[in-house]
């Protein structure tokens, strides 16, 4: 029989200690973590620090192109990166349901290690809890992270007319991929999550000195949520050319079948960037060099046509407001 996680693995005694050593230390190994102090003592090169946290509860835990572990690293790394910060240190808490497979846990931990290598971030402190059956749905992970702010003044409040809007990848892949994998839909598809750490491309943009007003990763609520949040935070209008938004054909198909909009689907490695006028080509050229941002596209402009609004222009001359996502996603009937 395959090895299972037991309640005793979270009890704080010998079993906990062996789980930590055999699994977490083995893969997350670094000097600070291995000191096993009550808290990690960190050195930072700056006093400007970005600090964030996120909890991951995705179901299913494994999906095409990733798993909850990869998501837990990329998600928190990206939140730091979106503030112009280089991700440095993470903490990581596992909440594990009693009876969870050790092998599954290990493969999740290995993906976390691999994802960390893409941005050079380290897990320096952690916690493990095992809860009785039914207490969590398999596994929940929380990660918190700190990063050194390399460029200051990146903010959702910075948008001004004439700036340009770039999306770094196709939108909706993660949301559609998860939806298709849900037990009650069972769509057969080769769709893959876009889950990725965005430090490398953003680092390249920072090094090239491009003038960026704001970055934001389009996670829950998708592209639509980011654009609407920005329009509101900066009291501006964002005008988007719908045909410029990259959407995979399969995502379009899932949306048509179930009655959703790809702009409302979650992404886990796709960001929107607001750049100064004249910087568009430079930014696109850099982004196109990286696998995770090679489909980047200029999608629109900041204007003062309305306040707090996002307008979607069709290629045949009609326009509509893109409303922020609301309520529970329910499929349409016919």
């Amino acid at each position: 029989m395959s090895k299972k996680i037991l309640l005793s693995h979270g009890g704080g005694g010998e079993e906990t200690s062996s789980l930590i050593k055999e699994l977490f230390f083995k893969h997350f190994e670094n000097e600070i973590l291995l000191k096993m102090e009550d808290a990690a003592a960190l050195e930072m090169n700056t006093t400007k620090i970005a600090f964030t946290t996120d909890s991951f509860t995705v179901s299913p835990l494994f999906f095409n192109g990733g798993n909850i572990g990869k998501l837990a690293i990329a998600g928190t790394v990206n939140d730091l990166v979106m503030m112009g910060a280089q991700p440095k240190y993470l903490t990581c808490s596992f909440m594990i349901e009693e009876g969870f497979s050790f092998d599954d846990l290990e493969s999740i931990v290995i993906s976390m290690k691999e994802e960390m290598s893409k941005s050079g971030v380290k897990i320096v402190a952690g916690d493990t809890k095992v809860v009785p059956k039914g207490g969590v749905d398999g596994l929940f992970i929380n990660t918190s992270g700190v990063g050194e702010i390399v460029v200051e003044g990146i903010s959702a409040h910075n948008l001004k007319p004439n700036q340009s809007l770039i999306v770094s990848n196709e939108v909706g892949n993660h949301g559609a991929c998860i939806l298709a994998r849900r037990e009650d839909i069972e769509l057969e598809t080769e769709l893959k999550t876009d889950c990725a750490s965005l430090w490398k491309p953003v680092e390249a943009l920072i090094k090239a000195g491009v003038k960026v007003a704001a970055y934001r990763d389009a996670t829950r609520g998708g592209l639509s949520a980011v654009l609407n949040e920005w329009a509101e935070a900066s009291n501006v209008c964002l005008e988007i050319e719908e045909e410029k938004i990259p959407v995979a054909n399969e995502v379009k198909g899932v949306c048509e079948m179930l009655g959703f909009e790809p702009y409302e689907f979650a992404n886990e490695g796709t960001m929107v960037i607001c750049v100064q006028e004249g910087e568009e080509e430079k930014v696109l050229n850099i982004l196109h060099k990286f696998e995770e941002t090679k489909k980047a596209s200029l999608i629109g402009k900041v204007t003062d046509k309305y306040k707090n609004r996002v307008i979607l222009h069709s290629a045949w001359g009609s326009s509509r407001f893109l409303e922020p996502p609301k309520g529970e996603l329910l499929p349409r009937i016919c």
Binding site: E243, S314, S318, R320, F321, R332, I333, C334
Partner: protein
């Protein structure tokens, strides 16, 4: 290898849409009020902003073809009563769970701990019933002719596998009767119809022939994509311009025939029959406009088996809500005092705001910029 046809972008080609708009503008010779019967078409028209690129002569009137919107409150109260019964799982489709009844909605009831499932396919009921043999599973079936065959297929499997714990509350409605009711009322000024897409796949376009004969209004059965709708409008204009006898036109030839899906029709006829009466929200009683299980299947008919639990009082909409007039083609969402204020998709007062196919919801989501719904 066969050439790959892109079933989405091919029908949203900007050049084709613009070309159709130009021809329509050139050929239109009189004002035409076109009722799109189906909520799916309302959605297409608003999402793709078609009124913005069509000439003023073309005026869309939204019809009664959204199965969630036309459900009277007392039947939503039925769903709520059924879901509140002990030892029961209530299963239904899509945004039905958000519609407010007289006191609460299925969504709120679910948050209070009642077991309510929103399904993607009616056949999921089989799995739920087998996993919960000690519970009664009530399928609250809704929809026009499009979804009726799936409910009939579910009845067939339940009978064949002798599953004892599945019950049906049938709310399937049909298209021709409400269209006839609206036209015979005489208040709505409708010159032509866009015929529903998916309904017609099942029924065939023959079901609209009596309406064309009786009222002399052209009907063009259209697909759900923007070029489909634009092409159907052009074909309606050409019928008027030709001045010949009106007929049912079929634009959606890639899916619709005159006879329709005979197998599906046979399946429905085997298990269901017309109800004498069905009360439509806002429109009122329309004879023979809905289906019920045949009497021989009364043992699985939730309206018979759980009769004692079901309220009987008829309930009208909030006084300020004009869903009724909208469903009859007499008003537009912007004519409503509470539209977008007291009534929004997050907090709907009337059913047209609940379903994504409802006219109010489509106007709220897509129409606010141009204010030119139709």
């Amino acid at each position: 290898m066969q050439p790959e046809i892109d079933l989405i972008t091919s029908f949203r080609n900007p050049e084709h849409i613009k070309a159709l708009a130009a021809v329509i503008k050139k050929e239109v010779s009189r004002p035409i009020n076109i009722m799109e019967v189906c909520g799916g078409h309302t959605h297409t028209i608003m999402k793709f902003g078609l009124p913005q690129i069509l000439p003023e002569e073309i005026n869309f009137v939204h019809g009664p073809g959204c199965p969630v919107c036309i459900m009277p409150k007392e039947r939503i109260d039925h769903a709520i009563a059924l879901a509140s019964m002990p030892n029961t799982i209530l299963a239904t489709l899509g945004d039905m769970i958000r519609v407010p009844g007289s006191q609460t909605s299925l969504q709120k009831l679910r948050a209070e701990g009642k077991d309510i499932r929103s399904l993607y396919s009616p056949l999921d009921v089989i799995k739920i019933a087998k996993e919960n043999p000690e519970k009664n599973v009530v399928f609250f079936a809704i929809g026009f002719e499009t979804t009726t065959p799936m409910s009939a297929a579910l009845v067939e499997i339940v009978l064949k596998e002798d599953i004892k714990n599945v019950f049906f509350h049938i709310n399937h409605v049909t298209v021709p009767e409400p269209v006839d009711a609206i036209m015979s009322g005489g208040d709505a000024k409708i010159d032509a119809f866009l015929g529903p897409s998916h309904v017609s796949v099942i029924t065939g376009y023959k079901i609209y022939e009596p309406i064309v004969q009786k009222y002399g209004t052209p009907i063009s059965v259209a697909g759900f994509e923007p070029t489909d709708v634009m092409e159907s409008i052009l074909r309606i204009i050409r019928q008027f311009n030709a001045g010949t006898e009106r007929f049912v036109d079929n634009q959606y030839t890639r899916a619709v025939s005159r006879e329709g899906n005979l197998k599906a029709q046979e399946l429905i006829a085997r298990f269901m029959e017309q109800r004498e009466h069905f009360r439509w929200r806002g429109i009122g009683d329309i004879p023979k406009s809905a289906l019920k299980l045949k009497d021989q299947f009364a043992h699985m008919d939730a309206e018979v088996v759980f009769k004692e639990f079901l309220p009987t009082q008829e309930l009208d909409d909030h006084k300020l809500c004009i869903c009724g007039s909208i469903l009859k083609g007499l008003a537009k969402p912007y004519d409503c005092k509470v539209f977008g204020k007291a009534c929004t998709p997050s907090n709907p007062m009337g059913s047209c705001m609940v379903s994504s196919e409802g006219a109010c919801s489509a106007y709220f989501k897509y129409g606010k910029l141009s204010k030119k719904g139709a």
